[in-house]
Amino acid sequence: MSRRSKPFFVWRHLNKLRWVTLTLVFLMLILLPLLHVYQTYVAARAYDLLPLSEKQLYDTMELITAPFVSDPASELDAIKGNTWSGTFWGFKLSDPLAVVGQIAAAQSIYWPFFLTALIPIAFTVIFGRFFCGWICPATFLYELNTNLGAWLHWAGLKTGNMHFDRRMKYGVLAAGLALSMLTGSVMVAAVYPPAILGREIYYAIALGGFGSGMIFFLGTLLFDLLVARRGFCRYVCPGGALYSLIGRYRVVRIRRIVESCNDCAKCNAVCEFGLDPLRDNFGQECNNCTACIAICPTDALDFTIRLTDYPYQGPGHLGRQYRGQKKKQGSTSATPCGQKAEAL
């Protein structure tokens, strides 16, 4: 028992932190347009002319921001934008897909823009597809959608559980980039939920109504609910494809501690991307969301620093299958297969 390594206890709670992050990002996407509307009122010195509801908005935003800024019209420009592209105190960050899409459309590289994606790319090289699990505002809604699907399933309604080829999204990415190249416009943004959500929320709040992108997004929600669980992210999303490719040899991975695993397969059931932690098959598409770590009843999943996944380590040592093997070995003699499992 002593050789069984225990994961650091904080890792179990990272999933909660992840939900906090997702919620914060999503709330920021709603708050920033509201702040912008407030700024426009301040800049126009229009308080007395506003209708009552707008006055309430003005007052609320003033209440929120008053402790931090003295001149809202200019100082609130510090944080602007969405996950597609944003600026923090003059420091610009962009989605790698925006950069790749723009390079495809222009067929040349505009370096100042390329540099804005450097930090996200560096994080992706280290943490893999972390954006999809930790930041993407669409993930927030998609995961709630998954929960809704689970409730509907529990209530006896039929929800979709179809499976498609995971490689489809790389095709979507390639097609989107090819289309961007042909049309000379960043077309991938039209089928990329975080970009759609970022701008549609802004349109809805500041410019008076959702655009057509919202219909597409609602379509993806229905697709996830009725056709394939989390289907858009798994099979279609071009951004997910790009992040998966960049994070293929990510440094920080989740691994299974075979000595602690009891083959309960809860990790496989909870994995949003339909990966196979039970058989050490995380692949390039794991987004380090830590949902599997949080649900594992025997603390058998841990972070590790490696460039590739472990090869399949055999059934978990606390599982029935492994113990059955062991008993058989004990009665006859040690088999190479059993030794291998021991060694790992």
């Binding site: 602007k80 944003g86 925006a98 723009q102 943004a189 701008r199 655009g211």
Partner: protein, 202 residues
């Protein structure tokens, strides 16, 4: 036999129709493009001159709109085709105040740093058959008083204090269009290449 004559009739009928319609089609093809003056979409200040280049450079992040103090920058919807999600300014609705915040915030080279005098969103054009002072229906001067560039862009005719005329310093911000009290908006932003201003300014 009946079927054959029927088919023959169809062929002859189609051929006749095509021959009759041919002059109309040719004339439509050769006719000069009809100008549609309604609702012109201005690009934000500092936008690349070539609109195709602008669409290529723009990633549709909406940052320019999010920093715009008068909230004049809006975005093309599905109707924009390849221009979808790129910014525009509808001067009739709200004009640009030339604060250049959008230029600072743009992550790409779609909006490039430009001094205010060098901004080229177009140039204002006054329809002298509708503008109130020009048709002697009173005094106005709203466009002249709102202009952020002042005398360089728009001023009054010397011999009639209240008749405005546009000068080449105009950068096309569209504030004059926004404030023009005439319902048909006799002042409008046109492409600088249209060169109507010279004709009107004399």
């Amino acid at each position: 036999m009946k079927r054959r004559s029927f088919l023959k009739n169809i062929v002859v009928g189609t051929a006749t129709l095509a021959t009759v319609m041919l002059p109309y089609g040719v004339s439509r093809l050769l006719a000069p493009g009809i100008k549609i003056p309604k609702r012109n979409y201005l690009r934000p200040p500092g936008a690349l001159k070539n609109d195709a280049e602008f669409v290529v450079a723009c990633i549709g992040c909406g940052l320019c709109g999010e920093v715009c103090p008068p909230r004049c920058i809006r975005f093309h919807g599905r109707d924009g085709g390849a221009k979808v999600n790129t910014p525009y300014i509808d001067a009739a609705e709200k004009g640009c105040i030339l604060c250049s915040k959008c230029i600072d915030v743009c992550p790409t080279n779609a909006l490039t740093t430009t001094p205010i005098e060098k901004v080229d969103m177009g140039i204002a054009e006054i329809d002298r058959s509708a503008c109130y002072p020009w048709v002697d229906q009173g005094i106005c001067g709203a466009c002249v008083s709102i202009c952020p560039l002042g005398d360089k862009a728009i001023s009054f005719k010397m011999w009639n204090q209240y008749r405005p005329y546009v000068r080449y310093g105009c950068v096309g911000c569209g504030l004059c269009v926004e404030v023009c009290p005439h319902p048909s908006k006799p002042i409008w932003i046109v492409d600088r290449s249209q060169e109507d201003v010279a004709k009107h300014a004399v």
